[in-house]
Every structure is written in structure tokens, then in C-alpha cells.
């Protein structure tokens, strides 16, 4: 028997990599679930090719899943993996550059045959040519051991072979001192209709676990303690699920039905999938013939008194622009979710980018302002969805909610809120006349505005006496009739702009993270970079920097306290996954210089990139 050293660690970054067909996402998700149940804080970063089946064995076909688990509060999936599990040579080659010397590599030794090695672009076998000498490499014949374990189980050889990801999972669960229980339960449930596949996976899982326990060539074992959490019920949540549930919760708290019009597009489709399975909540999902019909149907539903929602990803937003302009003109509540991906055009469909900010702010003809907000973390998607509905309904306006490809798929533990913690949203439908005709008879004028919000009445059909027509033609102030009068058009344009600007009065005060209180450099980010910027700022502070961090959720209108905050710092650094769209906005809006840091690599910022930029900003400061 081998005695293993058990090292207690605060955090570990682990990356699974293999061919798209190797089940790496599944393996990653199962490990995530187990770690969450164990009580670790965690953050994940799935990374997979856009093609359903990219050529097997090639670099282009590599699918990876990174997870950081920790015994303290973390915000990213980590920069550099401590452990890389590579199921084939391509998985190794695509990821080995991420590793720091000393990292642990576990490979499926069976996959390192001459052909696969060549396919991955290696000239020599990396396991033998010394190129991995600075790492701690373990080669395990996973395919052989898995097929062996499945013998006599009535499993087809092909199915047995495909279970090797469960072997890898078993081995990793052992390495991290986790029990198999949750995975076994999941296999039981998930493969209830395919008992032989279930059996193969079970056997592979056990084989991997036992291999870890008994193998002499395998030494280190990690132990990451649970993170201290405030008390409550927790679940593991992805950005897509959190958004979907946020909208259901908003519907619940407003008493309005939820209507989603959507057209399939990566990486937004998961929201359509999630909501399609929740019809018991009175959710109607409509897979439209195109992006335009999707938003159009949502506008129709909103006119009828539902929460009209449309979800898409970047190219889809282009197509929706005209209809969004209509909603601006009709002044109806509408929520447009854009799960941003790398563009322009088809771009890189599964990769993250934040390059739609300008589009969300300005991407319509005419003066067509609307509120824009962005979710900060996977779990924040839940409250961002509710907030988007609150603004849309209160101000009778379309709202763009920006998420991104990284948030959509990433997972983090989330304390489930109690229902009464959620805000109540009052639709406040018109229920009677609000004006008088010239001869004194009661009348309904659809563009008479609320004095404080400047919102017009929302009057879904069905109420006698409130019959009215709305349209995309300019409307006479208050009356709502078609009007081509220039002075009226100017007034209406100003009113619509003032209404949207007024949304800022309903924001909570900004909170700057500045623990030392004497920082001269402020890092300003927006939306989904929250995790990577917070981690980068933390790293910079470890290195001794005094630096503050502010992450914006509200992009239009900008928070009213933002200008004063920016003015307090000598230098403002704005890291964005675009070429500086927020930076330009801040310069224009506040006439201050900001330093823009950009990254367009389809991947989040690493902590080191941010910390280095902070160091440079401190050195350069005026």
C-alpha cells in the first residue's frame, strides 16, 4: 500500500482538455457539482469549438473546461492551471502553454500513438522527448483500463471506450479527496433508460478512483477545504440559468406573464432552452422564424400586457435594431438580452467579447436612447434580469441587458434568495380615462406622462374606453395622434431622452472597492469582466499596489455619482474586451483622460494582465 501525502491548499485550478467528442464539458460539470456540494467556492470557464464535431484529434477540435476551487471567495476560473488533464495529444498541445513550471499533467497515455501525436502537430512524442520536463507528468492508460473495467458488463466495446472521461473524473475526484456519491447518483438518473451505458460509466468512474488509490506512480493528493459562506441555501448556477430564472422571478413578482421570442443562436440558446422547459410558470416561449420576428412577437406580447423578452447574441442584435427602435417609439416595455460573442459578423461564436456596448447604446437610427445594463457575474445575471424588467416596466421602455459568452456558460455557487427579498414590480396598467376631450368628455390619451418617471400609460387591450392606436410614426405629445409637426417632434425627442436619463435616479449608489482608501488609480470595468478585474486588482494589492476597483452595471444612463468618483482618482484604467468602447464613453461624458486596456482574444483577462497594467498605471501616473 502506498501512503499518499495529502496537501492542504487554499485553491486549485484544474483544466480538463480533450477532443470535442471526449465529454470534457460533462466531466468538468460533474466535478463542479461535486465541489460545490463539498462547499468550495468555485468559478468555471468552459472553452469549446463552435463546430459541433471539429476534426477529431486536431487542435481546432479541442474542448476544454477550467475550474478553480477555493476555500475562500474567488471570482475567476484562475489564470494558470495547477492540474491539466489531457485526454489526447491535441488537448495537451493546446493547453500546455498555460501551465507554470511544476504544474501537474495527467494524460491518457493510450492516446499518444504516432498518428494522434502527428495530428496534434507534434513532431516527436512529447511524453518522451523531454519537452515536458519542467512539469510533473503522469501518463495513465485510461482507455485500456476503462475497457478492462467494462469487460463482462454487457457493454459494447465502443460504449466502454467512450466512458474513459468517467475514468478521468474518478481519478480527479480521488485526487481532490471527493466522494463518488453525487456522480453515481447523477449517472443513475441521467442514464436511467440506458442501463448498459450507466454501468460502463459507473465502472469507469470506480476504476479511475481506485487507480488513484492503488497506483504507486501517482503521488500527490490535494485537499481544498470548504469556503466560509454566509448561511443559507446554495446552488451552482450558470449565467444562462440565472438569467432565465431571473425573468421567471420578475414575472412572478410583477404578476405579469412572461413571453420570450427567440431565434436559436450560440451562445444565447440556453436561455430559450431553459425557459421552454418552464411552462408551468406561465412562460410562453416562441421560437420565431428569425431574429426580427422574435423581437417583433415580444413587442406584440408587450402591447398585450406581458413581459416581452427577446434573447440573442451579437449578430442577432443587428437584425433586431429596427424593431427595438419601434419599441422606443411606442414606449412599451421590452427586454433584449444580448449574450455577446466575438465579432464582427459570425466572428468566433463560442468566444467571449464585450464589443457590443456601442451597438447597444447607439445602434439605431434616429435619436433612440434606451437603458443599457450589464450583468457582472453568472449569479448576478439573476438580479440583473429582474432589474431589467423593473426598468422596462416602470419606464415603459426597451432595455438592453448585456451578458457574454463567458458569463453564459460559467458556473459559480449562489446563495438562493428568499422570495420576499426580491423586489416587487408594479405594472400599473391604465384602468380609466386620463384626459378630457375638448367638449369635456372623459378620454384616454396614450402619451400623457407620469410626472416623476415621464412614463406613458401602459394600456393593454381589453379595457373599454381606452381604445387607442400607437405606431412608429411620430406622435403628438400627450394625444398620441400621428404628427408631422417639427416643434412637436423636437419636444417628443427630448421627452423620450429625458425619460431614459431619469432612470438613473432609481439606481443604488455606486460602491467603489478601495480597502486602503488612499488609492490613486481606479480600475473601471463593466459587466462580465467583474471576476477577472477583481482577481487582477487583488493580485496587484498582493504586490503592494494601492488600487481601487469599480465595476459598472448601468451603462445608460450612467450613474449620477460616477463623475464625482472618477474625478477623485489621478488615473483611471479601463480594461475591456473590446477596443475601448467604455473608455471612449467616459472621455466624452466626463472630459477626463482614461487609459484603455483591451483584449480581443476570445478569453477573459488574466489576473496577471490586469495587475501588470495597474503597476504600469501607477508608475506612469502624472
Amino acid at each position: 500500500m502506498v501512503v499518499h501525502e495529502q496537501s492542504a491548499l487554499e485553491n486549485v485550478v484544474l483544466r480538463f482538455a480533450g477532443d470535442s467528442g471526449d465529454g470534457m464539458q460533462l466531466t468538468g460539470e460533474r466535478f463542479t457539482s461535486t465541489s460545490a456540494l463539498f462547499g468550495n467556492d468555485l468559478a468555471t470557464l468552459p472553452d469549446f469549438p463552435a463546430e459541433i464535431r471539429a476534426p477529431a484529434g486536431t487542435l481546432g477540435g479541442v474542448s476544454s473546461f477550467q475550474i478553480q476551487i477555493a476555500s475562500y471567495d474567488i471570482t475567476t476560473a484562475g489564470d494558470s492551471p495547477h492540474v491539466l488533464v489531457a485526454m489526447n495529444p491535441a488537448g495537451l498541445r493546446a493547453n500546455v502553454h498555460l501551465l507554470l513550471p511544476g504544474a501537474m499533467i495527467i494524460v491518457n497515455g493510450d492516446s499518444f500513438d504516432e498518428r494522434s501525436i502527428a495530428k496534434a502537430g507534434y513532431r516527436t512524442n512529447p511524453l518522451e522527448d523531454g519537452s515536458l520536463d519542467s512539469f510533473n507528468v503522469t501518463s495513465v492508460p485510461m482507455t485500456t483500463l476503462t475497457t478492462e473495467a467494462c469487460r463482462d458488463a454487457g457493454v459494447k466495446p465502443r460504449d466502454a471506450e467512450r466512458s474513459k472521461n468517467f475514468f478521468a473524473l474518478g481519478l480527479i475526484l480521488w485526487t481532490f479527496s471527493r466522494s463518488l456519491e453525487a456522480t453515481l447518483e447523477w449517472i443513475e438518473r441521467h442514464f436511467a433508460n440506458r442501463p448498459t451505458v450507466a454501468e460502463a460509466n459507473r465502472r469507469a468512474l470506480h476504476a479511475g478512483y481506485h487507480f488513484g488509490e492503488t497506483s504507486e506512480m501517482y503521488a500527490p493528493r490535494f485537499d481544498v477545504a470548504p469556503a466560509p459562506y454566509p448561511s443559507g441555501d446554495y446552488t451552482n448556477i450558470t449565467g444562462s440559468a440565472a438569467l432565465s430564472w431571473g425573468f421567471i422571478a420578475a414575472a412572478h413578482r410583477s404578476g405579469l406573464p412572461l413571453f420570450l421570442g427567440s431565434y436559436p443562436i450560440t451562445p444565447a440558446s440556453d436561455i430559450l432552452h431553459e425557459l421552454s422547459g418552464r411552462k408551468e410558470f406561465g412562460v410562453i416561449t416562441f421560437q420565431a422564424e428569425d431574429e426580427i420576428a422574435a423581437v417583433g412577437a415580444a413587442i406584440g406580447a408587450a402591447y398585450g400586457g406581458s413581459i416581452g423578452l427577446t434573447t440573442t447574441s451579437s449578430p442577432g442584435l443587428d437584425l433586431k435594431s429596427e424593431a427595438i427602435g419601434l419599441a422606443v417609439s411606442l414606449e412599451l416595455p421590452l427586454i433584449i438580452v444580448d449574450v455577446q460573442r466575438a465579432g464582427p459578423s459570425t466572428g468566433m461564436p463560442t468566444k467571449v467579447e464585450q464589443a457590443d456596448l456601442s451597438h447597444a447604446l447607439y445602434g439605431r437610427h434616429g435619436e433612440a436612447p434606451l437603458p443599457v445594463l450589464a450583468a457582472l457575474t453568472p449569479s448576478d445575471c439573476f438580479s440583473a434580469a429582474i432589474e431589467a424588467v423593473r426598468i422596462a416596466v416602470t419606464y415603459r421602455t426597451p432595455v438592453v441587458l448585456l451578458s457574454d459568452a463567458a458569463l453564459a456558460n460559467a458556473t459559480e455557487p449562489w446563495r438562493i434568495p428568499e422570495l420576499d427579498e426580491l423586489p416587487v414590480i408594479d405594472a400599473h396598467f391604465a384602468n380609466g380615462p386620463n384626459a378630457r376631450t375638448d367638449d369635456g368628455a372623459p378620454a384616454f390619451h396614450p402619451f400623457v406622462r407620469d410626472a416623476s418617471t415621464l412614463a406613458r400609460p401602459w394600456a393593454p387591450p381589453g379595457v373599454a374606453g381606452l381604445e387607442h392606436r400607437v405606431g412608429g410614426l411620430e406622435k403628438a405629445d400627450e394625444l398620441g395622434h400621428v404628427s408631422y409637426d417639427g416643434a412637436n417632434h423636437e419636444r417628443m425627442t427630448e421627452l423620450r431622452a429625458a425619460k431614459v436619463a431619469g432612470v438613473a435616479s432609481s439606481y443604488p449608489a455606486l460602491v467603489v472597492d478601495d480597502p486602503q482608501g488612499d488609492a490613486t488609480v481606479l480600475v473601471v470595468g463593466w459587466g462580465g469582466t467583474y471576476g477577472s478585474l477583481a482577481a487582477g486588482v487583488a493580485l496587484a494589492r498582493q504586490r503592494g499596489a494601492h488600487v481601487a476597483h469599480l465595476q459598472l452595471r448601468y451603462l445608460n444612463p450612467l450613474p449620477r455619482d460616477l463623475g464625482a468618483i472618477l474625478a477623485t482618482y489621478e488615473r483611471v484604467l479601463v480594461p475591456e474586451l473590446n477596443l475601448g468602447q467604455l473608455a471612449r464613453l467616459l472621455r466624452a461624458e466626463y472630459l477626463i483622460d482614461v487609459a484603455s486596456l483591451h483584449k480581443m482574444r476570445g478569453a477573459p483577462f488574466t489576473s496577471t494582465e490586469i495587475a501588470d497594467a495597474i503597476d504600469a498605471a501607477i508608475r506612469e501616473k502624472p
Partner: protein, 340 residues
């Protein structure tokens, strides 16, 4: 079943206070009048009636109706109306569109609305021209049409809305024209009563840019020779003395022939309810070129599940399977754990 008591209304109740602004003499006026006169008879409420339109001359229609209404964007009315109809099954939703709006920029929305079969009544004003933009050829213009954008004549073959609708699986398809109020009203009534999507093509004269586009068919002088009145259950015959009839030929198509004792028995009897749309399609393709005898009336009227009803059934099935909605349970549905 409960009986709805709807107070008696007149045309005036259904007319808004807005001045009607179509060109004098436009066929749109007679369509508006036909509908405003018919609506009081349909036992429906104004507040439960919505007109949705896109862009074009016809699309101004909602402004003139004292109902709820939306004048939206070019071509998208069927999609917008679908969102309204499925979330508000209590409403009577009409879509008013034109040949450019419905068949050109909005063609995709039209075919998908038709195959989905949500409860919509689509009125397609076909004047075979772009009126609002002042006279370019439209998708229904005859080939060789000389317009501002086609000084040497248009090159495209016209699209036939009836054929398109049948091809898209529409459950109610009819044609009427602006010169015959009682025919329009009879067809509109049927279209409204149909549970599902109904498409009514209305031949509409644009007297400014395409005057007389249909006069070879529907003028008083031409009707007898060129207007074929479709009546369910009756042989399809026309002519001043019913001397012409529609018969099948051996290609499966339908053809017009002069009737005599030898072929009278072969005249096709019109059946709106045939499950197979092939016969209706053949009727729609009777005309080999323009200005030939043209069928008017209901081509097809069949029962298929309505889209909104099916959505409700799925919602009920979800409640049945998973119990009443429970938000707190939903938030724990991916597995949860408790931390003290």
C-alpha cells in the same frame, strides 16, 4: 357555453376621430367601409379588437378604427400580431398588410404565420404596386410592368398570394375585391370566424399609380366573363349564361372550358374543406396570364389545431407533470446545499 352580450354598435362606433388620408378614389376606402359596417354585426367588442399593420398605404388602416391598434414596421406585422394573439387569446387580432409589406419585405413572416396557424385574420390589400413610395413595381406586378424603377419593364414573374398561402399550409385562404362590398363582407366574416390564421387577398385599386389593375376582372362589364365565384358545394361555372366551367385535365391541373351536354358532368364541384390543398392550388393557378377568368371567394377552409390553443395545452401538461409553479423549488432544481 356562455353567451356574450355585446351592446349594439354602428359604423360610427368603430370609426376613430382621425381624418382618413388615402388618395381620393382609392380602393382602400371601400374596404374600410365594408369592415366598419360589418364589425357591428360580428358580436365582438371594440376593446377586444386589435388591428396590427406594417408599412404601406394599407397600413394606415388601424388609425381609422376606433379599436386598439398598432402601426408597426415594414413587413413585421404578422410576427408582432402573433406575439399578441398567443398571449391574449381573448382578442380578435386583425393584420392589415399590402403586397409589398406581406410578400416582399415580410414574406418570411407571412409564410411562418400561415403555417403556425395562430388566431389571426390577415387582410392583404393587393394593388400590385408600391403606392406609398410613389409607384415602383411590387412582387405581384405583372411581368414587363413599366414603373419608375423599371423603365424598361419589370423582369420578375408575379407572386400569387393564394398559391403562396396554400403552399405554406394556410388553413383559410380567400380572395375578394374592393368593388363588391357584400362579397368582401361575406369573406371577412368567414375569415373572422375561422379559428386559426386566415388569409384574405383583396384586389384593391390604386387609382393613382396602378389604376384599373383589376378592371379586366372586376369591372361591371368584365365580371360575367372573367370573375369566377367560388361557392362551396356547387359546380364551378361562370359566364353570362354559366356557359363556362372548370374541369380537370389529365395533368392534374384545372382548366376552363366551354360547357355543353358532353362535358357538363365533368365540372368540378367546389369543396373548401378538402384536406389536400392540391385542388385549391390548381384553382389558384387557373389563370395562365393576367386578365383571365379569376376565382373569387374561399379557396380553402379547414380545421387544424390553433397555435395558441396548443401552447395552452402544453402549459397545462407542464403543470400536470411538475405541479403548480413553485419559484422556491425552481431555484433549487439544480441541486442545492445548506450552509449554516
Amino acid at each position: 357555453m356562455t353567451t356574450q352580450f355585446v351592446s349594439v354598435t354602428t359604423r360610427k362606433d368603430w370609426s376613430s376621430d382621425q381624418e382618413v388620408r388615402w388618395c381620393p378614389g382609392c380602393g382602400d376606402y371601400s374596404i374600410l367601409a365594408a369592415l366598419q359596417l360589418l364589425l357591428p354585426e360580428l358580436n365582438i367588442r371594440r376593446e377586444e379588437t386589435v388591428f396590427v399593420s406594417g408599412i404601406g398605404c394599407a397600413a394606415r388602416f388601424p388609425y381609422y378604427m376606433n379599436t386598439y391598434g398598432m402601426h408597426t414596421i415594414h413587413g413585421r406585422a404578422p410576427a408582432i400580431a402573433t406575439g399578441l394573439a398567443v398571449t391574449r387569446p381573448d382578442l380578435n387580432v386583425f393584420v392589415v398588410s399590402g403586397d409589398g409589406d406581406a410578400l416582399s419585405i415580410g414574406g418570411n413572416h407571412l409564410i411562418h404565420a400561415l403555417r403556425r396557424n395562430a388566431n389571426l385574420t390577415i387582410l392583404l390589400f393587393n394593388n400590385r404596386i408600391y403606392g406609398l413610395t410613389k409607384g415602383q413595381y411590387s412582387p405581384t406586378s405583372e411581368r414587363g410592368k413599366t414603373t419608375k424603377s423599371t423603365p424598361q419593364g419589370s423582369l420578375e414573374r408575379p407572386l400569387d398570394p393564394i398559391s403562396l398561402a396554400l403552399g405554406a399550409g394556410a388553413t383559410f385562404v380567400a380572395r375578394t375585391h374592393d368593388m363588391d362590398r357584400s362579397h368582401m363582407q361575406a369573406v371577412f366574416r368567414r375569415a373572422h370566424e375561422h379559428h386559426g390564421t386566415s388569409l384574405v387577398e383583396i384586389y384593391q385599386n390604386c387609382n393613382v399609380f396602378n389604376d384599373g389593375a383589376f378592371s379586366d376582372i372586376n369591372s361591371k362589364e368584365s365580371r360575367a366573363a372573367n370573375l369566377i365565384n367560388l361557392r362551396h358545394g356547387e359546380p364551378i361555372r361562370f359566364g353570362a349564361n354559366d356557359e363556362f366551367g372548370v374541369v380537370g385535365d389529365d395533368t392534374g391541373a384545372l382548366a376552363i372550358t366551354t360547357l355543353g351536354p358532353e362535358n357538363e358532368s365533368r365540372v368540378v364541384v367546389h369543396d373548401e374543406h378538402l384536406a389536400n390543398p392540391a385542388r385549391a392550388f390548381a384553382l389558384a393557378r387557373l389563370m395562365v396570364s393576367d386578365h383571365e377568368p379569376t376565382p373569387m371567394g374561399v379557396f380553402r377552409d379547414v380545421d387544424e389545431p390553433e397555435y395558441g390553443d396548443q401552447i395552452s395545452l402544453q402549459a397545462a401538461a407542464s403543470r400536470e407533470a411538475r405541479g403548480e409553479a413553485d419559484l422556491s423549488k425552481l431555484l433549487r432544481s439544480r441541486g442545492s446545499w445548506h450552509v449554516d
